[in-house]
């Protein structure tokens, strides 16, 4: 499940030993690497030649007794399988996971969401507080409009000229505001300070996306291929995927 680099690499690795179907929610492979990334194109071609069945535009929702529920405009089916390899990608931590308390107001976005909205040229604020560094933070920093003031909280100090202020080592702990975020309280070693902002982007602390019921936490018939790190290279993702599924094909179906 998941035709990003990790899912493609895992599918190819397993295809020599088993019948493999690769299910992807979006109409194209690539995941966060995009369909035209050379490593993605290469793996898609090799998967194709190795007999991997690619099923695009279909969402996997449930994994129950070795049956995977697939829902999409063209496919509505329970697919039988011996094993589920879950390569659903990663996302930044949610407020509950960080944990970040305080007001529930407009203007607090997951890095994934902020990226999509900025890509669509929707102005999210004049003063952005970006929490964390790495993939999603970099995208947001690159897309932030030139008039926006950007403060980075936690993570590494980014080299970007877009950053007006940085608070390395700090973690966001509380959101303040009435209708929209007005301040983000950040903390390091018990020292708190409030920074003014009208948009908070949560891009810290990568977590594996888990959204197939029955495969949320580890079970013997599920293997997760989700490398969580702030910065990833295609090689690291592919190597991790191959290493994770190596040996799976030795396990006989029961």
């Amino acid at each position: 499940m998941g035709a990003g680099l990790a899912g493609l690499a895992a599918a190819l690795e397993l295809a020599a030993h088993a019948e493999v179907e690769l299910v992807e929610r979006l109409p194209a492979a690539g995941g966060s690497w995009q369909f035209d990334h050379p490593a993605v194109r290469d793996l898609v071609g090799r998967c194709d030649r190795a007999g991997v069945r690619l099923t695009m535009g279909v969402t996997a929702l449930r994994w129950i007794e070795r049956r995977l529920l697939l829902i999409g405009p063209g496919t509505r089916a329970w697919r039988e399988a011996d094993h589920l390899v879950f390569a659903g990608g990663t996302r930044p931590a949610t407020p509950a996971e960080l944990p970040l308390f305080g007001a529930r107001v407009a203007g607090v976005f997951a890095g994934t969401v902020a990226h999509h909205l900025m890509e669509a040229h929707i102005a999210l604020g004049r003063h952005l507080a970006v929490c964390g560094s790495g993939y999603w933070a970099d995208l947001v920093l690159a897309e932030a409009p030139s008039h926006a003031r950007v403060t980075v909280v936690g993570g590494d100090v980014p080299a970007s000229p877009r950053v007006a202020a940085a608070w390395p080592g700090y973690a966001p702990v509380e959101v303040r505001g009435r209708d929209r975020v007005e301040q983000l309280v950040i903390e390091r070693d018990g020292h708190a300070r409030a920074i003014d902002c009208d948009c908070v982007v949560l891009a810290a602390d990568q977590r594996p996306i888990r959204n197939v019921d029955g495969a949320i936490t580890a079970t013997p018939d599920v293997t997760y291929v989700q490398l969580c790190a702030d910065t990833l290279t295609p090689d690291a993702v592919v190597d991790h995927a191959i290493a994770t599924v190596a040996g799976l094909h030795g396990r006989n179906s029961t």
Partner: protein, 476 residues
């Protein structure tokens, strides 16, 4: 038809919470014309949203109006929720004691519950653990209420509002009552909002925490009110699937206590605590309160874990000296008070019928119109279907999943943003169909939800509402 002179309605209901909407739904099925005014941008923005989603079988001992109203409401949930497409399950609740004090508390409670004629069983700790295997070994004695249920309180409020609108009621949002007009006899003749002056023959004060202020504005009785803030954790459905019953401690005089409750969408609620006073608009969560809530619920169900936490939230119940109000004002002849500090959801069906009866007593024609609408069109909810394949094969166009965590299709979101009382915000979509409300909290689907909402209303994505306060996605 609103214009400079406004419009005339038989009844203006102030407040689009669960009580205001239930009352409007009931009255709109008669010959009476109904207008609902809500200060917030959507239905269910006060206590109707920030509650535990429980349909109580017992709350206050008899004789009390609360006891009567719960009794008049509790048998009808299956029928009502079936008709209105509201998730509901009668799963039963356990009130558990850990020690001798608790056992004495249960003794007293059992007497009250039996006097109310509500089904209850006194069970040993061991029997209680058979009802709920996750219950702590510390439980030595318990009361089991088989008729207690769980409901989606926001879906219920929205469904009442939809039913009211489909029967001709007008619902206006961002319409706080700023002033009233009175005739020579001191009766209310109109209410004034920022946009309009609305003439009316009756005003129903279902303004929740704002009820005291509205009564004062209308020249009515003094209703002393204060917010009772509560905070909650929500735990993942993955854990929720293992919990079967509502688990509560022995109640205190002010609250039913911090409970562990399954929700109709499969997650688990921990909470609420009760913080008196403060600011009614304060919906902020705090680490200190939430840690205490967690510790207390861990004592009831030791396997609860914050590793499974997907969200925290807070809200205020409308506490008052007179906790349940369902009557005409003593000073203003055509003002009806309808309020409930805690069991608003559980008593909402009875509130609708009783307000109708109050108006019938005044000689109003409250007979049901023959052409009234009594049910809402069902929208298949993938999450709640044992086999979505069969459902979606009948409607293949619906088979596009937008929110994977909560298994919400584009069709469900479209229904939420194009209904009679449509969602205009991310929050509104979440309240109606759960999209963005799951374990990733919209990390994957929120942008899509924003675009679907913007398209439905012909607005820019940046103008789509976000958060309960009425802020929007875009800024600057």
């Amino acid at each position: 038809m609103s214009g400079p002179l406004g419009r005339r309605f038989d009844v203006v209901v102030v407040g689009a919470g669960v009580l205001g909407c239930a009352i409007a739904a009931e009255l709109a099925q008669t010959a009476l014309s109904v207008c609902v005014l809500e200060a917030a941008p959507d239905v269910a923005e006060g206590a109707s949203k920030a509650n535990a989603g429980i349909t109580s079988s017992f709350y206050a001992p008899p004789p009390s109006i609360e006891c009567e109203l719960i009794g008049e409401s509790n048998d009808g949930w299956e029928e009502l929720c079936g008709r209105l497409n509201v998730p509901y399950r009668r799963i039963g609740a356990l009130t558990v004691a850990f020690d001798d004090d608790g056992v004495r508390g249960l003794d007293e409670l059992e007497t009250q519950v039996r006097a109310a004629g509500v089904k209850v069983e006194r069970v040993t700790g061991e029997q209680a653990r058979r009802h709920e295997p996750l219950l702590t070994d510390e439980c030595i004695d318990a009361l089991y209420y088989p008729d207690e249920g769980i409901i989606d309180p926001v879906r219920l409020t929205w469904a009442y509002a939809e039913l009211a609108a489909l029967n001709g009621a007008e619902l206006r949002f961002r319409a706080p009552v700023l002033d009233v007009a009175r005739d020579g006899d001191g009766r209310l003749s109109a209410v004034v909002t920022p946009e309009d002056r609305i003439a009316c023959r009756y005003v129903v004060n279902a303004a929740g925490i704002g009820s005291g202020a509205l009564s004062a504005l209308a020249g009515g009785e003094e209703i002393r009110m204060w917010p009772r803030k509560g905070q909650y954790w929500i735990l993942d459905r993955d854990f929720g699937q293992t919990l079967s019953r509502i688990v509560l401690p022995v109640p205190t005089p002010t609250t039913r206590g911090i409970e562990v409750a399954p929700t109709t969408n499969g997650s688990v609620l921990l909470g609420p605590d009760a913080e008196e006073g403060g600011d009614a608009e304060d919906r902020s969560t705090s680490a200190g309160n939430l840690r205490k809530i967690f510790a207390e619920t861990q004592r009831l169900v030791p396997t609860v874990s914050l590793d499974r936490a997907i969200k925290t939230y807070a809200g205020s119940r409308p506490a008052a000296d007179e906790p349940v109000r369902l009557r005409f004002d003593a000073r203003v002849d055509n003002l009806i008070h309808a309020g409930n500090r805690s069991t608003g959801v559980s008593t909402s069906p009875a509130f609708g019928r009783r307000v109708k009866a109050l108006l019938a007593d005044r000689g109003e024609n409250t007979a049901a119109r023959p052409d009234r609408v009594t049910s809402l069109p069902p929208v298949p909810r993938v999450l709640l279907e044992a086999d979505p394949v069969t459902v979606l094969d009948r409607r293949p166009g619906d088979a596009m999943v937008v929110c994977v965590c909560e298994q919400v299709t584009a069709a469900e979101i479209t229904a939420a943003v194009t209904s009679a009382v449509p969602a205009r915000s991310i929050e509104g979509v979440r309240k109606r169909c759960r999209a963005t409300g799951g374990r990733c909290q919209g990390s994957i689907c929120m942008a899509g939800v924003i675009l679907l909402t913007a398209n439905a209303h012909g607005i820019d994505p940046g103008q789509v509402g976000m958060g309960p306060g009425g802020g929007s996605v875009g800024c600057g």
